[in-house]
Symmetry: C2
Subunit: 252 residues, 2 copies
DNA sequence: GGGGCGAGGTTGTACAGCCAACTGTTGTAC
DNA sequence: GTACAACAGTTGGCTGTACAACCTCGCCCC
């Protein structure tokens, strides 16, 4: 029951994160020096730097050579862990909303060129296509069209159509997600979207496409989510030196 | 003209990045072990790990304990550096498009509560509001509404209204950008948007709001960009363990 | 009051080494 | 043949050290 022992640097990072969000360091305040943190936590400076590196990529603090680190006021927008972001159900619960949904269709099929490309499979390979409607407190907010490779799709196909969270179930069967590439844009609702979401065809929907891979780098899903306008927004943190975000021309 | 000497780990990272995008390691291929890379580059393992860490946060490779690193096929979506993402003009040029734009209005004013919040200023502080239309090859694709704190706004106000890139000019005056928090959603075009972009009022536009800060953590802009549907998409890379992205309820 | 200068403080980069945790493979036993 | 065990290979985590680059702040001078 003890769970895995967290590495030292994670404990330190969690501690500092808590201290910051609890307001012990106001927005713009300077953090203690690395050497001092190392002494107070009784660890080496390298470990402290690992912890601070995590806070930096989280966007909680700045850092530049020669000056103490500065706390960046969170700005209200909470960033979520990968797990919360990946699972609609977990995310909704973390926001105090009641997630729901129903599986409209689960169809086995053969990979089109596009699907094969994103799932790194040969064209024609067996895949599963799943169409779901997601709700918050009973109100439909999103249509999700996902393509799974066979081994994952079989698990999804066997699930209860009313199940709120596929993510939990997949995890229980040993399907792990570790990386995702998201593309976010706007697309007009088609007839099916309009029917399922209760909007008019042609209305602009917020679209998120993503390809997720497991820790070994194998694609586990290729998904396209369409949100009603005004329901959700995506937040992204970004800093110089990292290349985690981009903007692309919309060719199609 | 030699520019700054890049740190060792950046050279190594650049080298590996080039090798990967050049296809020397196909999608799914395994990278050489850290020790081997260290020998071939003649540096310590720590330096190699720093380089690989950069590639990992860029989403080019996976990594897990016990197994060699695996190349994640880029999937076609190119991620841009912070600088390219920040500047519309630089981004456009990097995509082979001709950026343009005109400054519609530059108005000094006093910070509203919202502006004061995002720029970390007292309400009523002097700020500048700038409205611009951005074009690609002469076609309007985006409306940009930015609020600057006084010291930055003064520089912008003095610029040529037809200048393609404010970013270059600001940089020349010592205004540096280092972090940004983006919020992406869909919003209906208002009358002004419709007029400037040549669409109908009520059409769904892709909206990106961002607050950017300098290396010391001081806000330097609070901006709201609205893109015509179908012109651009945003891409984000995301992996377990990092908290760089989120999804939020749209309260307003 | 303002500007220049220098000393000390702080983070960035790089090296070396050690052990633990985990993976993939090989080979053995049944 | 198949399941299991041992092993070598590999990355994660942590410590310690040294120096370089850079920032801040106080001091001095004007």
């Amino acid at each position: 029951m003890a769970g895995k022992a967290a590495p030292l640097y994670r404990k330190v990072a969690g501690d500092l994160r808590a201290a910051i969000t609890a307001g012990e360091y106001g927005s713009g305040a300077r953090l203690p020096a690395e050497d001092e943190l190392a002494r107070t936590y009784g660890v080496s400076r390298g470990t402290i730097r690992q912890a601070l590196g995590a806070l930096r990529t989280d966007g909680l603090v700045t850092s530049r050579r020669g000056a103490r680190r500065v706390v960046l006021g969170g700005g209200g927008a909470r960033l979520q862990s990968f797990e919360e972001l990946r699972s609609f159900a977990r995310w909704a619960r973390s926001q105090g909303e009641e997630p729901g949904g129903r599986t409209v269709a689960v169809d086995p099929g053969e990979a089109t060129e596009e699907e094969a490309y994103h799932l790194r499979l040969p064209v024609g390979e067996r895949i599963f296509r799943v169409l779901r409607v997601r709700t918050l407190s009973g109100v439909p907010v999103m249509v999700e069209r996902t393509t799974y490779p066979e081994r994952v799709g079989e698990l999804v196909a066997a699930m209860d159509p009313g199940l709120a969270s596929h993510a939990d179930e997949l995890e229980a069967h040993g399907v792990l997600f570790s990386d995702a590439l998201h593309t976010i844009d706007v697309v007009p609702a088609d007839a099916a979207d309009a029917e399922l979401l209760g909007c008019r065809a042609g209305d602009g929907l917020l679209r998120e496409r993503r390809r997720s891979t497991d820790p070994a780098g194998l694609p586990v899903e290729w998904s396209q989510d369409r949100y009603l306008p005004g329901t959700v927004a995506f937040t992204v943190r970004n800093s110089s030196g990292s290349r985690a975000m981009g903007r692309s021309l919309n060719g199609s």
